[in-house]
Amino acid sequence: MLAVVVLAGLAGLAGAGLLFAAGRLRTDATAQVVNQVDELLPQSQCAQCGYPGCRPYAAAIVAGEAPINRCAPGGDSTIQALSHLLQREALPLDTRFGEHQPAQLALIDEALCIGCARCLEVCPVDAIIGAPRFMHTVLQDACTGCELCLPPCPVDCIDLVPRPPDS
């Protein structure tokens, strides 16, 4: 009788431990895979994929909600890398979510800028500096060329130029 109680107790403890561990480890593993996927994305934070940034897209891919071929800035090489990591089929880039193009850089025409500060809000990497009624400028090293600053600009003073090869 005692043996049965002890063994049942031990089994119960072990079961509880396993249950706890399984829950813990599963979330950790998912987070890890999301991190790995995020590592492979180009970090332009452009939201062309339909998610608000690279990490949300990575989370959606891991959760199986999004296919791996929506990242236009990453292009085929990113799709290849994702396909290799996740063992999913490498589909061609879904061009409904944008075309792959060479790296760009936003440039503010400072003669036209009226200092409305609307672009500051939307820049996902805080690459525009300025203040209301003061001229804005783009930090070239930080700009990812995501184009998100274009629509809010009321005077259309932001241009995208090709990124110089060595910057």
């Binding site: 180009p42 970090q43 940034g53 690279c54 996902p124 990497v125 090293d141 930080a142 090869p165 060595d166």
Partner: protein, 505 residues
């Protein structure tokens, strides 16, 4: 120093490297000859993209030999001195004999046939009386750069932040055909030793060793004899096995001290500074004769040249005039190479100027250099791995290069490749490995830039998201004040106004 220096004539034999037919006797028939003054010189301002000098002369200016004509920005005070007397014709981009079909901005100077020296070119006071900083500043101002090929400013290399306990003078000229350093050590050993002594003082170091290869007994004996005549303490001669590429900086340090320079590190991390013997001789010329860096010794060799040999030639001299000084072409259809057959580059013109990096000009006949043969697939024999002096695995790197996999290339440490060409030399499938690795190294730079930029963008985007979340929380907090108290406040207001309750209506 963990391992003792090997001074004995039976030095350790490295496992890496290849033995190549030396072809050195061709250009060692006679001593160093002085090439005649050129009619026009072109002095490049940006021979390496990392260091760009600004001209301080303008077209039309008359200049004297040894005068400073350009300065490098920065605190080092590095300069470029005029190699001839004449008049500046123009400052414009011109092709130069470096890899990559590169055009450098050059100062073109027409010479007037005379050689008048600038007032500044006076022998300097006994070097022993000058401070370290003073010695370094004078070397910088005289435009002395490493003559081994890397063109790094010598003064900058002497300004070490960590203490140096060994200066290595690299005379291990391992590449076939090239004999300019060997002839220098044979003809002018006292200058090498004098320059080494000044460099020791400029470094604040005690010990210097002049490294020669085991197949240069004349140079070793000349240096030993010259050493016996001077009273410079702490300078010795060491012999390393004649095996290509024993004269590579990292390889030479390994052979002499048994230590490996870490990947991404510099010899300074081991307390070692490495200088070419020709650089030491240039330092000696500066202090003894007041002569800044205006010339260098160039080996002109190959079966296609009339009288092969070593020439002391003014920098900027067109190769055409150097070839004329060496007896001209022996036959019309010769191919020119700058540097040795292992690492040199093919040139498409003899109008290019001699630069500080021009150690050897090979004028080869069509039979002399093997034509490129077709590549066959890699059979994974591993021969390239065995000879690689950087201990890489070229066969695996080849696959990573063909796949364009920058991450894999980084993991296989393509950046450690010294581009010596040993793998190409032994490959039974005649695969152009080094060319691919050179390309991969350039891509690595871009890849790392992209990686760094992505990491920064990720950080910035996270910070942006965090800030927006905080702000949203703040706004949510602001007007939130408990609804009950809001109602109460409204009632109070109404009471104060002495009006009826608006809800009564």
């Amino acid at each position: 120093m963990s391992a003792p220096l090997s001074y004995d004539p039976q030095p350790p034999r490295p496992a890496w490297g290849v033995r190549v037919e030396p072809h050195k006797a061709l250009s060692m028939g006679q001593g160093i000859r002085i090439a005649p003054l050129p009619r026009q010189v072109r002095v490049p301002l940006d021979l390496t993209a990392m260091r760009v000098a600004e001209a301080i002369v303008a077209p039309g200016d008359s200049i004297l030999t040894g005068q400073v004509i350009a300065r490098f920005p920065g605190p080092g005070g590095n300069a470029i001195c005029a190699p001839v007397t004449g008049r500046v014709r123009d400052i414009a981009p011109c092709p130069v004999p470096v890899a990559g079909n590169y055009q450098a901005r050059c100062i073109s100077i027409d010479t007037a046939g005379e050689d008048r020296w600038s007032e500044d070119c006076k022998p300097l006071e006994p070097a022993g009386s000058l401070s370290r900083e003073n010695l370094q500043a004078r070397i910088a101002r005289a435009g002395i750069v490493g003559l081994g090929g890397a063109l790094f400013p010598t003064a900058d290399k002497l300004r070490t932040r960590t203490p140096v306990n060994l200066l290595i003078l690299n005379g291990a000229e391992c590449e076939p055909y090239i004999t300019c350093d060997e002839m220098l050590m044979r003809d002018r050993p006292e200058r090498v030793i004098h320059g080494a002594a000044i460099m020791l003082r400029a470094l604040g170091a005690r010990q210097a060793v002049i490294a020669v290869e085991s197949d240069m007994p004349e140079a070793r004996l000349a240096l030993k004899a010259a050493l016996a005549e001077t009273d410079e303490p702490g300078i010795g001669v060491a012999v390393v096995t004649a095996k290509y590429p024993a004269g590579g900086e990292r390889q030479l340090i390994e052979l002499l001290t048994g230590q490996e320079v870490p990947l991404g590190g510099l010899p300074g991390d081991l307390g070692i500074v490495c200088q070419n013997v020709a650089t030491a001789a240039a330092v000696s010329d500066l202090f003894r004769q007041g002569r800044p860096l205006i010339s260098r010794i160039v080996t002109v060799t190959g079966n296609g040249i009339g009288q092969p040999g070593n020439f002391e030639v003014r920098l900027g001299t067109p190769l055409r005039e150097l070839i004329a000084a060496a007896g001209g072409y022996a036959q019309p259809d010769c191919q020119l190479y700058m540097g040795g057959p292992m690492m040199g580059i093919a040139l498409d013109s003899d109008e290019l100027p001699v630069t500080e990096a021009s150690n050897c000009l090979i004028v080869s006949t069509p039979e002399e250099m093997a034509a490129p043969r077709p590549e066959f697939p890699c059979i994974r024999c591993g021969e390239c791995s065995r000879v690689c002096p950087a201990r890489l695995m070229p066969q695996d790197l080849l696959i990573a290069c063909m796949a364009g996999d920058a991450e894999r290339q980084a993991a296989l440490q393509v950046d450690a490749c010294i581009e010596c060409g040993c793998c190409d030399y032994v490959c039974p499938s005649q695969i152009a490995l080094t060319a691919r690795f050179v390309q991969a190294k350039a891509q690595q730079r871009h890849w790392r830039l992209d990686q760094a930029r992505a990491a920064e963008a990720r950080e910035r985007s996270d910070a942006h998201a965090r800030r927006q979340a905080e702000r949203a929380a703040q706004y949510a907090d602001g007007p939130k004040a408990d609804p009950a108290s809001g109602e109460q406040a409204m009632k109070d207001l109404m009471a104060r106004l002495g009006q009826r309750d608006p809800t009564d209506d």
